[in-house]
Amino acid sequence: MPEPLPSPAEELATEEAQEGLPVDAGTQEIAAVIAVPGATAARRRKKPFGVGAWLALGWLVFVIGIALLAPVLPLKDPINWSDPTLKLQGPQWGHILGLDQGGHDMLSLLVWGARPSLEIGFGSIAIGFVVGGTLGLIAGYFRGLIGELLGGLFDIMLAIPAVILALAIVAATSASVTENTGSHVTNVTIALAIVSVPILGRITRASALSWSDREFVLAARAQGASHFRILWRELLPNVLPAMFSIAVLGIAVAIVAEGALAILGAGVNAASTPSWGNIIIGGQGNLSEASHIVIEASIAIFLTVLSLNHLGDALRARFDVQEARI
């Protein structure tokens, strides 16, 4: 068995002993001083992610994985396969998560339902991230008229209740879609993207405002950097952590919002595209006799949102500390 390497403290003790010095409190004190920087450096480098964050990451990987693999998984067809005789039945052999009010298999509904939910969640925030981030960065860097106008625009958009704004956009954009049967995933994604723009824009603007006052921005300017260079190379990398932590929360909110829109009848078309949101809506009429429909879909949303929030926090804790160490 290999001998463990002596710690700096032990090394010092042996050294002092060899030199005929007594190993006393002084040794320990010096050893503590020696030991601390190395220890903290090691902690900084590793900084483990924590069990919760790994679980959250695991769940997200699992959900995204099954959503992507849905067509090749051995699942019943969520729309075309149904057994009316078994409708509203709870978990049983062959249907481990039970069946819904139309006799469709809950497991395959949930797996297929993950697709539009995740598409809407990630898609809308991705659009909002790019658009809101760009506008916010510009608003924070170019004060003056551009900044005021964009800031005002964000405030106006934020003043309109988000759900009503999203409803209005879905209603306006889905006129061409089959009447009264709900909307396409794209429409909901765009609606939620527009709603998320001012939120991400404001966060980015606030962060960019404070960063663009830093001397290194002036220093870059004094070296002849163009506005684009300053925005892209100096400001953006500093603003990204704040944007990411809000965006991750935003994905969670968007997944829930898709459900909220479904409740209001402006969600994704349940007949053609099951989503977590419209599964809940479909099941709410039978809450007393078949609660498993609503509960299972809610748990799927709950775990995903919880994972995203937790992962967002963990990421921020990992990347946002740079400033404190300077």
């Binding site: 001397e215 870059a220 004094a222 990398p237």
Partner: protein, 379 residues
């Protein structure tokens, strides 16, 4: 190799700014004024400053906090924001008027013709960009060179500013370096594109005293080796002593005295300069000497006092000073300029000081300082 040759050529041709004939100074600033429009009134931060700087020479600009020295250097470089800033006067660089140029016109000059080292290396480096990228960044946007070649240049630059293991440092981030190291990196960035004029805006104020001298020596060597003109802005006369060719002392937005460094230290003419020199503690002073101070505080730049702006704090003040502002004009020695009606070391100055001493003017008491303060229990 063909691409290496192309790079060399592009490095040289990047110097697009035409050089003036050698008899024209590199930088000429003529009655520069910079005011800030605020809610409380117009702050005249720089109020009619005139100086010129030859190639390869160094000028120290000295003054208290808030006297306009930083604003002056940023104003000359054109780095001040547009909003609420009013500039007038002329700035000629290489004989060409650049005082009224827009930032877009100035941008090709920044970095390649004039550069600045900032006060606080803790905040003037981007915390999330590696040292290497921060040095190569200006090289890449000013010159048509490959990133590999820019990296070679960065290593050479770090070496020349005295940073050990430059290869390793390139990959490090600012928080991994000490304050002195960061200021060295800042200097490397500033000189990367070979400017002809370097502004050093209090480059050592936020550094450890032991590091200050190293950084100042480094600036001096770089300035000499590259034959740059340098403007060293500081509040500390000790910093410019022996390191600059000339010194300009600023007070309330104006230059009040300008002279070759040696002359200024040996024969200050302006009472403000004399008071600044007197306020430096000397090793030879007896223990418990009271430090000489300048009473009062710098004037309000929105409503500056009438006459000489230093008159309320001056030990030599006479009635004339409170009414008429003295112009900056050369004394009998020629190169030594000062703005004072009763200059130090002249018969008029001595008479003014004596009469104030008899009258018990507060500034005289503070100015004299010097005598030992009796402290109980200490012999």
């Amino acid at each position: 190799m063909w691409f290496r040759r192309r790079k060399r050529r592009s490095l040289e041709s990047a110097d697009r700014f035409p050089s003036a004939p050698p008899d024209v100074p590199l930088l000429e600033v003529d009655s520069a004024q910079t005011s800030f429009v605020t809610d409380r009134g117009t702050v005249r931060a720089v109020d009619g400053v005139t100086f010129s700087l030859e190639r390869g020479r160094t000028l120290g600009i000295v003054g208290e906090s808030g006297c306009g020295k930083t604003v002056l250097s940023r104003s000359v470089m054109g780095l001040l924001p547009k909003h609420n800033v009013v500039r007038s006067g002329s700035v000629r660089f290489e004989g060409q008027e650049i005082g009224n140029w827009a930032p877009d016109q100035m941008r090709p000059l920044w970095g390649t013709q004039m550069a600045m080292v900032f006060q606080d290396p803790m905040t003037s480096l981007n915390p999330v960009m590696s040292i290497g990228n921060q040095i190569t960044e200006p090289l890449l946007y000013h010159f048509d060179i490959s990133s590999g070649y820019a990296r070679e240049l960065a290593v050479a630059l770090l070496q020349s500013v005295g940073i050990p293991e430059p290869d390793r440092r390139l990959r490090q981030f600012p928080h991994e370096l000490s304050g002195g190291m960061r200021q060295r990196v800042m200097i490397a960035i500033a000189i990367a594109c070979g400017p002809k004029l370097l502004f050093a805006d209090e480059p050592t104020t936020s550094l450890d005293v032991t590091v200050q001298a190293q950084i100042l020596d480094l600036l001096q060597t770089q300035q000499r080796e590259r034959y740059m003109a340098m403007i060293l802005v500081t509040h500390d006369l000790g910093v410019v002593a022996g390191r600059t060719d000339d010194i300009a002392v600023m007070y309330a937005g104006r230059i009040v005295e300008k002279a070759p460094t040696r002359v200024l230290f040996s024969q200050p003419r302006m009472p403000y300069t004399e008071a600044l020199l007197a306020s430096i503690p000397k090793l030879g002073d007896a223990a418990h000497s009271r430090l000489a101070t300048i009473p009062g505080r710098p004037p309000n730049l929105i409503h500056p006092p009438q006459g000489c702006k230093f008159s309320p704090r001056c030990a030599y003040v006479q009635d004339k000073c409170r009414v008429e502002e003295p112009p900056l004009r050369p004394g009998p020695e020629g190169k030594h300029e000062f703005a004072c009606w009763f200059p130090v070391g002249t018969p008029e100055g001595r008479a003014a000081f004596e009469s104030n001493k008899k009258a018990g003017v507060a500034a005289v008491e503070a100015r004299l300082g010097g005598e030992t303060v009796p402290v109980e229990g200490v012999s």
